[in-house]
């Protein structure tokens, strides 16, 4: 099984079905296309998107619905093709997509903010993902996430 060094969790082995493939990378990181999504129960709901290509690259993330319970993802046909999703008007069955907001820490964890303007969307069954800009929304680049400091100080 392949192994990778992680930023916070030491060395990990993983199976190929665990790899999340970003065909276009993330914005500003277009050349990093393979990631693992890691969770650690003690830091829940914080998870980590760890690059396989670059062990020092790891994005703290959390489910977009944990940031804003009302969060509604918008996908255009181009996004759907990129994620190998059927283009349809009705919602996808629950569990089809994993929608994560990248968490940005300020100087201390209690200043944490989550990016709902550019969420990471994973098509779980296909293992494909993309950062999908919500152009037609009012979602914030820095949506405050109070309480994350409690997660990290227990």
């Amino acid at each position: 099984m392949p192994k990778t060094q992680t930023k916070y969790f030491g060395e990990m082995t993983y199976t190929s079905d665990a790899v999340v493939w970003f065909p276009e990378g993330l914005l500003g990181f277009e050349d990093k296309t393979r990631f693992l999504l890691l969770e650690e129960p003690v830091s829940s709901p914080l998870c980590f998107l760890q690059s396989i290509d670059d062990s020092s690259l790891c994005f703290p993330v959390m489910p977009a619905t944990q940031v804003d319970a009302e969060f509604r993802l918008g996908l255009d046909p181009q996004n759907c093709r990129l994620l190998s999703l059927p283009i349809q008007d009705e919602p996808y069955p629950p569990g089809t997509l994993l929608c994560l907001a990248i968490v940005n820490f300020g100087e201390t964890a209690h200043q944490a903010a989550a990016n709902l303007l550019g969420p990471v969307v994973i098509h779980v069954a296909a293992g494909k993902a993309a950062q999908v800009v919500q152009f037609e929304s009012d979602y914030q680049l820095k949506h405050p996430v109070p309480g994350l400091d409690k997660v990290l100080t227990c």
Binding site: F9, E40, S44, L98, F105, E107, A109, V133
Partner: protein, 119 residues
Amino acid sequence: VLITLRRRGQSIRIDNDIEIIVLEIQRNKVRIGIKAPQSMRINCSEIVLIQEQNAIASCPPAPVEATLREHFKGSPGASSLVLGKQFSMTSARSADAVGAQPATAQSDLGKSRDADRIG
């Protein structure tokens, strides 16, 4: 800041090689075309802002990074892959770290974790 009134089909020139054309006006949207040399990077502001936020998010400040490292150092459960049916941590202390983990759905990864939250 230059403020000017333009109608559909009209344009603005910047120097000799850039033209910004108003293609279509809807109720609260405007479709804009930009003619510029290939070498110029043209992006919606949101894209640039998100690029910057991604760069910042990938490098938390030193105190937060130290907290994260410290936080996970002794965690007995070790971390697990959200996707992928099998995982193992070579540096894991506990055998519990090796096992099956079903793919987690969007709704699950939030709700089911609430119970685990400490604090």
